[in-house]
Structures are given as C-alpha cells and as structure tokens.
C-alpha cells in the first residue's frame, strides 16, 4: 500500500526538524506564573482597563466629597443671604449664588452626600432583599419559585418612579433619606431578584455542585459555599449600574417635590429650584445637573467595566 514512490508534488513525506517545535511534556504545569483566583484574574484585567481606572478615580473622589465635604469648601450651603440672590462668581464662591443667595459651589459639594447615600443605601437594600428572594426562588424552585416569581412580577408591574411618587406623596411629612431609601427598595428589588434567580438556577446544576453532594455536602453547605459565590457576579454588575440609576431616581423624585425635603441640600432639589430661573441663569441648572451626571456616569462606566471582565460572553469577544 505504500505509495511513496508516486506521491504528488507537495505531498511527499515531510518531517519538521526536531528543533523547530520542541516537544513539551504532556500537560505540563507552568509553576512560574503567579497564582491568580477567578476574582484575581478579573481584577488583573480590570486595572488594565482605562475606563475602570477613570471611573474608579471619579467614584473615589465623589465618595470623598460625600464623606468629607468640609475638605472642599468652608462655606455653609444653608447660609443664604437674599442680597446675594443670583450673584455672579466671586472669590471664594466660584459658582456664584442662587435665587436665595446660597453659595452654589457649597451646595454642589454638600449635595453629593444626599445623592450618594441614597444611591448606596438603596443598592445595599435592593441587593439584600432582591438577592435573598431571587436566590431562594432559584435554589428551591418548584412551587416556592412560582409564588415568589409571581410576587416579583407584581412588584415589577409598578414602575419604580410611579410607585415611589404615590407612596412618597402620602408620607410627605416623614420625607427623609430613610423613607426614600425604603420606598425605593420596595419598588426596586425586582430587577436584582430576577437576575439572582436566573444566576442561581444556572449555577445550581453545575457539575461541581453535584460533585460536592457526592462528597457528602448538605444543601445549605452547597448553597453557601458553592452556589452563592459563583452566582454573585451578575448581581454585582447590575447593582453597580443600578446605583447610578437610583441616584437619577432620587433626583427625579426630589424634582417632583416628593423625594428629599426641600430643606435637604441635594442636587435634585437644587435642579428643581433652578428650573424657574432657567431663562436668566442657566448655569444654576448646569452645576448640580453636571455633578449629578458625572456621578451617575462614573457608576455606569464602572458597571460596564466590571461586566466586561465578569460576563463570560463579553470575555469571549
């Protein structure tokens, strides 16, 4: 059968020189490289992503402003003198004054705390409530899941802004960060619950969970030690993006007069007030709106960057 004599041009027996491709040991382990966990890997690619770096620096800055506004301004945002009404920028007051004669720069700086705390607290609440409900529904399945999913649908059917307007209006007298956050959690947890549910459902059938069962691990051990740590990534991504969205919602509600009370220093309240002076002093709108937009942008960019490293499908591309 050997056909070597009559092989066609280009099809003779060819053997690469053995030094061209040195043979490796089958399946050798590279012991040189530094060990890196899944999260370590994600972190490693994150810190190479300029978007993540920019967003991270901006968020760090915003958090600093929210925590320690005194570092950035000595002016009291609630110290307003009518004689300064609509006053232009001057030394120590770079953004000028609003209608009541309050220092705009000080209000923008101090307004960060309200927005950021509402955003952060709502996100924490939504992740805890929605995450728990979604994880339980996804893990136990069956009737439990059916009932919890319908409850989720019911709350999902009432849009966040709409539900919050109705309730906040009823509790106008008690308005404040705690109430606002509670109401936003009540109408906002569904988005996280849906994600947590499908994430847990996809992880619970993973082979490593079956393997753990066969090793003698119980249901709770499996849920806590294997399923939740593997299901948390999409929740983190959505929560980060949503944090920005919650800040927008807070501003919207404050604009409608049902968010934080007028006495609070907040971007939403200031934007709302600036509306009436839009014709004459458009900059009054620009400063708080700009601060708000930058904050929201930072969180959404952060969410996008995190998604790029955690979503296996995004990674593939």
């Amino acid at each position: 059968m050997s056909r070597s004599p009559d092989t066609l041009p280009g099809q003779h027996h060819y053997v690469a020189p053995s030094n061209e491709v040195p043979l490796r040991a089958v399946d050798a382990v590279d012991t040189e490289a530094e060990p890196r966990s899944l999260w370590g890997e994600a972190w490693h690619s994150l810190i190479r992503n300029p978007i993540f770096i920019i967003a991270g620096i901006m968020i760090a800055f915003i958090l600093l402003v929210a925590l320690l506004p005194g570092l950035f301004t000595d002016n009291d945002p609630k110290f307003c003198e009518l004689r300064n009404s609509y006053g232009g920028p001057q030394a120590g007051h770079p953004f000028g004054f609003d209608q009541q004669g309050c220092d705009v720069y000080a209000r923008v700086i101090h307004g960060a705390r309200a927005s950021v705390s509402v955003g952060v607290l709502t996100t924490i609440g939504v992740v805890l409530l929605g995450g728990a409900i979604g994880a339980i529904a996804g893990y136990f399945g069956g009737w439990f899941d059916s009932i919890l999913s319908r409850v989720t649908d019911i709350f999902f059917a009432i849009p966040l802004v709409l539900g919050a307007i109705v309730v906040m209006q009823l509790f106008r007298e008690h308005a404040g960060v705690v109430l606002l956050v509670s109401v936003m959690v009540v109408f906002g947890w569904t988005s996280i619950a849906r994600i947590a549910r499908s994430s847990v459902m996809s992880v619970k059938n993973a082979e490593f969970v079956t393997a753990a069962t066969a090793l003698g691990a119980g249901r709770t051990t499996n849920l806590v030690k294997h399923i939740l740590p593997n299901a948390v990534a999409p929740v983190i991504v959505t929560a980060t993006v949503n944090l920005g969205v919650y800040i927008v919602v807070e501003a919207t509600l404050s604009f409608l007069g049902v968010g934080l009370p007028d006495s609070t220093v907040s971007w939403g309240v200031d934007i709302s007030k600036a509306q009436s002076a839009l014709r004459d002093r458009p900059t009054l709108l620009f400063y708080p709106a700009g601060a708000l937009a930058i904050t929201v942008l930072s969180f959404i960019m952060m969410g996008d960057a995190v998604r790029d490293v955690l979503d296996p499908k995004a990674k593939k591309r």
């Binding site: 319908r150 009432i158 849009p159 802004v161 009823l170 919207t252 014709r279 708000l292 937009a293």
Partner: protein, 311 residues
C-alpha cells in the same frame, strides 16, 4: 403554542390583581383621612362626610372596598373624584395625548436606538462605536427632567422652534420634542442592548456558517445577525411601553401636556385618591398587557419557544 399563550394569560391574572391591590392598599390604607382633608381649612359637615364615605365605600372593610372598586372599573365606570367630576371624562381627553406621546417615544427609541446599536455592534471598538456608546452613557446619566429643561430652553426659548408649553389639545408636531425627551433614556438602553446582542450573535457559529455558504455580508447581517439579536430588544421595547406611561409624569409636567401623567400628578397633589388609584390601575393594566403581547411576540419570533413553554 396554545398552552404557552394560555399559561401567560393565567400568569397575568394574579399579577394584575396583585399589582392593583397593592396600589389600592398604598393609596387607601395609608394614614390620613382623605375625606376629612377634603375641605381644607373648613371641613365638610359630618353628614356630608358620611355620605361621601358611603359613596366611595370607605366605610366598608378594605378588601370589600377593593373588589367593589374593581367591579365598577370592569363595568366601565371609572368612578368620580371626591369633588364629583367624572374620572372617565377627564381621562378620555388625557389618554389619547399620552398615547401619542408614547408612540413618538417608542418610534424614536426603536428606530434610532436599533439603528445606532446595530452599527455599534457590527463595528465594535471603532470610533463610531465609541461615540455611540458615550452618547448613550451621557443620555442615561443626565436625568430626563434636566434633558427636558434643556430642550425646552434651547428649542423653545432660544431658538423658538417649538412652543415652550404644549398646552391643551396638542398636535403631533407639538409633541415631537417632549416625546423624544420621554424616550431618550430608553433610546440609550435600546442602543446598548442592541449593540451587545448584535456583537454576540455576530460571533456565533451559525453566522460563520452563513458566511461560509457564500452569502453576501448584507444578507448575513439582515437574515442571520439582525433577526436573532432583535428578539430581546423587542422584548425590552414592549416592556418599556408600560414604563413610558409612568415616565410621562415628568415629561408632561415639564412641558405642561394635559396627559395621563399630568392628571396623575394633579390627583396626587390634590389627594384625589380614587383618581390616583384609577390612573395607576390603568397604567399597570397597560404594562401587564404590553408584557403579555411581548411574550406572545417572542413566541412568534422564536420557534423554540413555540415548541416548548419555558418552565
């Protein structure tokens, strides 16, 4: 398919009742007596208050109130305000306006969002993709009401290409800018979703196979990439229809459009609880029905769903 549709309808029923009950509970079971508050500084006489309470079934147990209310709604009687105006009459004028507004918003977000998203998704990583992505981030980051003010100020006050306030009985043209403002955030989401989907589908094996069999690029994109990637986008737009109705509160109050959102805001401010519940119930109904339509559409577009119902 039959069972799929039936299942969705069956699932819709508890959601409808649950959501409307929730709304009813929020509004009527909360502290404060709406009737007592009605007269403002000069409360109505006791007898009048009692008569009103009876008329609005406020003297009955909560669940009974709710079902009596729903029964009325199903008979087409949307009730009247505490001040005696017919809610149906008010809403009959308002609804078409908001629907017009929502249609403009949906067309805007769907057409431009999908177009930009497809371009972005097919050219991932290029400058045009980055531009669109930045644009979408900016639109999401700037709250709708700020966008509204700016549009009103620039287009209405400075350029005078649109009226500052839309006012009664607005025409389609008058609603164009408010509609685009209403749909702006959704436009950004549609863009982002389409972009992700297109990029994902374009990398799938069957697209390579379609290319390998000799289809020209435009054909691969239209028949294989677009069709597959638009299914979740259509789902999103459908759900968004329900959301937009709620978002109309902000837009309508900025541009002074006498639509549903305007009435809702008015009713909330005035403590007209029946009207609030009626409007929110209507909005929830629109949302639930939009969801149902999306589910059915989904099944029509994806043969795999038709085949088996998702468990």
């Amino acid at each position: 398919m039959t069972w799929y549709v039936l299942r969705r309808v069956l699932q819709m029923i508890p959601v409808f009742f649950g959501a409307t009950l929730l709304v009813y509970f929020m509004v009527f079971f909360m502290p404060g007596d709406p009737i007592a508050a009605l007269g403002g500084d000069k409360p109505l006489p006791e007898a009048a208050q009692a008569r009103l309470r009876e008329e609005f079934n406020l003297d009955k147990p909560f669940l009974v109130q709710y079902f009596l209310y729903l029964a009325n709604i199903f008979q087409g009687d949307l009730g009247s305000t505490f001040r005696g105006q017919s809610i149906s009459g008010q809403l009959a004028d308002a609804f078409p306006i908001t629907i017009r507004l929502a249609i403009i918003a949906i067309v805007f977000e769907a057409v431009l969002g999908i177009a930009a998203g497809v371009i972005s998704g097919l050219r991932k990583g290029t400058w045009i993709d980055t531009t669109f992505l930045m644009l979408s981030l900016l639109v999401i980051a700037v709250p709708t009401f700020v966008l509204g003010f700016v549009a009103q100020f620039v287009l209405g006050v400075q350029l005078r290409v649109m009226p500052v306030n839309v006012g009664r009985d607005p025409s389609w043209e008058n609603l164009l800018v408010p509609g685009m403002v209403l749909g702006a955030v959704s436009f950004a989401y549609v863009l982002r979703l389409t972009r992700t989907q297109v990029a994902e589908v374009a990398a799938q094996d069957h697209v390579r196979t379609a290319t390998a069999k000799g289809l020209p690029r435009h054909r691969v994109v239209s028949a294989h990439v677009l069709r597959n990637s638009l299914i979740p986008v259509i789902t999103y737009i459908g759900i968004d229809l329900g959301m937009l109705m709620g978002g109309a509160i902000v837009t309508e109050s900025i541009f002074n459009i006498p639509g549903i959102g305007f009435h809702l805001w008015d009713a909330i401010r005035a403590g007209e609880n029946t009207k609030v519940v009626t409007i929110v119930t209507l909005l929830v109904t629109v949302f639930v029905i939009a969801n149902l339509i999306v589910d059915i559409l989904y099944a029509l577009l994806d043969p795999r769903i038709r085949y088996v119902s998702k468990s």
